[in-house]
């Protein structure tokens, strides 16, 4: 299948580039240099046939006009097709990381292009990368970073990303420089600065593949987040270092002030970026406060503001360098140090270099982090989904393109192959990475609550794949670097080596050495409650000890946060994470049940709601007004969908509102409760039989129920109970599990049928204790007993989601109806007669 795909893909690429090749042949007369810059100025609008005289052309081809966007679209499309292709046969992506496949496809496309003497479009320039490709990648990883584990491990993440990257760059750079002195290598002309520049590029890790594997094998949270955070911030550090060394590499002489300037800039730039990001995050959140009426442009704000933060950071980076220069100048005034004037002159033009992307990465990261926190509460559910999808999409496209491009470039450009230098680079990159992790972990471990063990360290070191950023940085090196081709070649070798060898082998190795794992499923309310409880406990104990540490700080921050939320969030309902999770789970289940059992949701409660009505008063023979009322209610309950449909119009500039979802949620509550209550007494046939919206002809409500009553009484109820576990009705279980997502079908086993009683008793709490005395014979009554238990819970959870006024109105009657006896279980239980209970059904 995959080979078929490759062929298909190459045909597609041939198609895409075939058109290109034809064009290039046509334009062969134009100078080659023109072609690479992709600014077509040779021929204007081409017309076929050649216009003769003033007559209007019938058919015009204007390819150069659309060339650039057209080719970009083709590239993106091709890369996306490749992505689809990988997942056609999904086992491949388990064992071979996607990046490998992308590079492979790129290599194939490159080979095809090479054979038709087509050169890759020179779109990947420094400014294109920094202005258009990098922001989506960084935004993507920043936006989807798990916030709370990140802040828990912030120190370690920063330690590894800042110090680790410095360590790697300097270590690799210096040792490469040392190796370069060996005459046999033929690389004596590479200066220390250039080596450092190259080393900083090579030390950017990009462990997409490693993270995918970590996620799959449930590797422990600390390891995951450190690798994740390291890759995020080490991009920033690498870019800073890159610009720094890039700048330094252009200087003829390097002296102490330059180094000092670099260090100062490092910090100014970092802090400035953080401030800018936070500022824009707040502004974005504040803006979305007022977008209630214009939902359709909500997602736009996220992108515009983060991009604005990015651009402004880029713009400000110039001034921040100015600021650092001033401070350094002041420093030298104090120390009475005179810098050579010629080096100062060199500095100025370097500053006009557009690639000062140093703080922009940091700024976009913080902006995303800040925004995510507040904006998602202001915008509607749909906008939130849109934002997430769009961010993911843009990030993926960028990254895919870069990897794809890497494959193409590998084939099509001229390489400078220097065995010694490349192999030493490979060796040193791995060596210093390993050493760095080893040493840095020893330093950081005493400060960690859970220290990294040896296996974790191995995971950290081995997960350090090189990727898109490395390639983009090296490819956009200025041409003034003499051995640029060698650097490109060496980087490509490193990337391909790490991505292919490490990327493919990391899964078996991680599994083999058995790294600590944790379960990632935090999606139950109990876990959330207990997590919060523990956090509060720890914070309390720390307060009690009079000690400030992370938890106490977090507590303080949460208090501060509450003030900010008031300003930034529209309807400031302070919401604890527990509530949020609860609502999320409920909504999830509502949606799930809608998808899987549409129709059933309205069908199943029908009889039960009637039943509740009828138990509350004495049965009568004729159709009474109350029966009519019940029918009314039944109809109004079941027809709500139709009502909704007729009401909801969407204008051109409005999005459909989601109040409907809320009502569904509400309905789901009741239906779940009912299914819980009645599931033991129902079998599928009966359920199906109940699926009608009006009564059968010639039957009153009561006659219906009395017949059922007789049939139930005729049976011995014990077989019905034994029936319970043997009846797999997945729908029922699916629905009944609204609050217990993880335990689908557990109760289906016979051994647990008896334990249900226990369970219900516990849920009943104190009242349930009275049932302890029940004799074994009582077991037959278990099922109605369960109903009681469910009823007991019912009224409570009913009100909580009725946020919108219409929904509130509709549910107002529910508690009264359901809670008639259930609210006072103590009052009711003594009078409870099992047979009546059974008979009523």
């Amino acid at each position: 299948a995959i080979f078929g795909f490759f062929i298909w893909c190459s045909i597609l690429s041939l198609f895409g580039f075939g058109a290109n090749a034809v064009l290039s042949q046509k334009r062969a007369t134009s100078p080659q240099s023109d072609f690479t810059t992709r600014v077509p100025k040779d021929d204007g609008p081409q017309t076929f046939p050649e216009p003769e005289g003033p007559s209007l052309p019938v058919f015009t081809l204007n390819y150069p006009r659309i060339q650039i966007p057209f080719e970009i679209t083709l590239w993106v499309l091709l890369a996306s097709f490749a992505k689809i292709g990988f997942h056609v046969y999904h086992k491949i992506t388990i064992w071979v990381p996607e990046t490998c496949l992308l590079i492979t496809i790129g290599l194939i496309v490159g080979a095809i292009m090479h054979s038709v003497h087509e050169r890759p479009p020179a779109v990947l320039t420094s400014s294109v990368f920094f202005l258009y490709m990098l922001p989506p990648i960084v935004l993507d990883s920043a936006y989807f970073m798990p916030t709370s584990p990140f802040f828990e491990n912030l120190g370690t993440v920063m330690w590894f990303s800042v110090v680790g990257t410095l360590w790697n760059s300097i270590g690799v750079g210096v040792s490469l420089f040392g190796v370069c002195q060996i005459p046999a290598l033929g690389a004596q002309d590479i200066s220390l600065q250039e080596n450092l520049l190259f080393a900083s590029i090579v030390s950017a890790v990009d462990p997409v593949a490693a993270l995918a594997v970590f996620e799959d094998v449930n590797v422990n949270e600390q390891l995951y987040i450190v690798v994740f955070g390291e890759s995020l911030f080490n991009d920033a550090v690498t870019v800073v270092l890159y610009n720094l060394f890039n700048h330094v590499a252009e200087l003829p002489v390097v002296d102490a002030p330059d180094v000092l300037l670099a260090v100062v800039r490092f910090f100014v730039v970092g802090l400035g970026g953080i401030l800018l990001g936070v500022l824009f995050g707040f502004v974005a959140a504040f803006t979305t406060r007022f977008t209630r009426k214009v939902r359709e442009i909500e997602p736009l704000f996220i992108f515009m503001y983060s991009y604005l933060a990015y651009l402004l950071a880029e713009f400000l980076s110039l001034s921040s360098i100015m600021a650092s220069r001033i401070s350094v100048g002041f420093f030298f005034l104090v120390t009475e140090y005179h810098r050579p004037p010629q080096s100062r002159a060199e500095l100025l033009p370097a500053n006009e270099n557009p690639a000062f992307a140093s703080i922009i990465v940091v700024s976009i990261v913080t902006c995303a982090l800040t925004m995510k926190h507040y904006v998602e509460e202001n915008v509607s559910q749909r906008s939130c989904t849109t934002i997430r999808h769009a961010i993911r999409m843009l990030g993926t496209v960028s990254e895919t393109l870069i990897f794809f491009f890497l494959g193409v470039v590998t084939i099509t450009t001229d390489h400078e192959w220097n065995w010694g230098y490349i192999l030493f680079t490979l060796l040193f990159a791995q060596l210093w990475r390993g050493l760095g992790i080893l040493v840095l972990t020893q330093i950081i471990n005493p400060f960690r609550t859970i220290p990294f063990n040896f296996k974790d360290q191995f995971g950290l070191a081995y997960g350090g794949l090189r990727g898109a950023v490395t390639f983009a940085l090296v490819y956009t090196l200025p041409d003034s670097i003499f051995r640029k081709k060698l650097f490109v070649t060496a980087s490509i070798v490193i990337i391909i080596f790490t991505v292919f060898v490490q990327g493919i082998s990391i899964r078996p190795i991680i599994k083999l050495i058995n790294v600590r794992t944790t379960s990632w499923s935090r999606d139950t309310i109990n876990v959330e409650i207990h997590t919060r409880l523990m956090e509060h406990t720890i914070a309390g104990i720390e307060d009690l000890c009079g000690q400030w540490s992370r938890h106490a700080l977090k507590d303080k921050f949460m208090r501060f946060n509450r003030v900010i939320r008031k300003i930034l969030i529209r309807d400031n309902r302070p919401e604890s994470s527990i509530v949020a999770l609860y609502k999320k789970l409920e909504l999830q289940n509502a949606m799930l049940s809608l998808e899987t059992i549409s129709g059933d949701i309205s069908a199943s409660p029908s009889l039960v709601s009637l039943h509740e009505k009828t138990t509350s008063y004495k049965p009568k023979k004729t159709v009474s007004p109350s029966d009519l009322k019940a029918i009314h209610e039944l109809l109004s309950k079941n027809m709500y969908k139709i009502r909704e449909r007729t009401v909801s119009y969407t204008g051109k500039h409005t999005l459909p509102d989601d109040s409907c979802a809320r009502e569904i949620l509400l309905r789901r509550h009741t239906s779940v409760r009912r299914s819980l209550r009645t599931r033991s007494l129902r079998d599928p046939e009966k359920v199906r039989g109940q699926k009608y919206f009006s009564l059968p002809l010639g039957q009153s409500l009561d006659s219906r129920f009395t017949t059922k009553k007789f049939s139930c009484e005729g049976d011995n109820s014990a077989p019905m109970l034994n029936d319970l576990p043997a009846r797999p009705n997945p729908r029922q279980w699916l629905r009944s599990s609204s609050r217990a997502k993880m335990t689908l079908g557990r109760l289906d086993t016979p051994s647990e049928a008896g334990s249900m009683e226990d369970g219900q008793r516990a849920v009943l709490g104190r009242h349930g204790q009275s049932r302890l005395s029940s004799t074994p014979a009582d077991v037959t009554l278990q099922a109605p007993h369960q109903r009681r238990g469910a009823e007991d819970r019912e009224p409570d959870s009913k009100e909580d989601v009725s946020a919108s006024p219409p929904a509130r109105r509709r549910t107002a009657e529910l508690p009264e109806r359901g809670g008639g006896g259930a609210r006072r279980p103590l009052l009711r239980r003594p009078h409870w007669k099992p047979q009546d209970e059974l008979g009523d059904l």
Binding site: I525, C545, V579, A740
Partner: protein, 190 residues
């Protein structure tokens, strides 16, 4: 005092004990015993939503020794230290059994915070109470929400285990977040 708590205490180092003793004196205003009021007066703790549970835990006999019952009015330094020792991070070199023991001990501590009437079960009311307290600081959520959440949580447990939250089931339930427990127990006494 159970052997386990002794074991925990032993591994609290001497300087940590000295630091804790200073804090104890500071809190109790240099008297030998600590009362509830002393703890409630700590300003930072006053903002904690589960302040009362935390304070109560220090005066709970069950946390001092196995099989203890009821609560006391005042505690000495030894009891203070015992409660503190629950929050020690685990040593790095421990056997699986020791780890399990420590985990259970910590779990028991948490359980006791839930189980206010000391009957070995966490009932729905008790659970609701805890959730209410947890949510009490986050504004006007109201008891209804807290109730429904507690119910939902209890239902979760009910569908996993036999429903009654005796210690075993709480463990089943919290097995997945035990690593939080381990992780969150920072070095108080460093």
């Amino acid at each position: 005092m159970s052997s386990l708590i002794l074991f925990l205490l032993i591994s609290v180092s001497l300087e940590q004990i000295v630091i804790l003793h200073n804090r104890f004196n500071q809190l109790s205003h240099n008297s030998d015993v600590l009362r509830r009021e002393d703890l409630r007066k700590i300003p930072d703790l006053a903002c904690n939503p589960i302040q009362s549970q935390i304070v109560e835990a220090f005066f709970d006999e069950r946390n001092f020794k196995k099989g203890g019952e009821g609560s006391v009015q005042e505690i000495g330094f030894e009891e203070f230290l015992t409660v503190m020792s629950y929050f020690r991070p685990p040593e790095t070199h421990l056997t699986a059994e020791q780890k399990e023991e420590i985990r259970r001990t910590k779990m028991r501590f948490l359980f006791n915070m839930h189980d206010t009437d000391n009957d070995g079960t966490i009932t729905l009311e008790e659970y609701r109470h805890v959730v209410e307290e947890l949510l009490s600081r986050s504004g006007s959520l109201g008891k209804e929400t807290a109730k429904s959440i507690a119910d939902a949580a209890m239902l979760e447990v009910a569908s996993i285990s036999m429903g009654r939250m005796i210690l075993k089931e709480l463990e089943i339930e919290t097995r997945m977040n035990i690593h939080f427990l381990n992780m969150d127990t920072t070095f108080f006494c460093k």
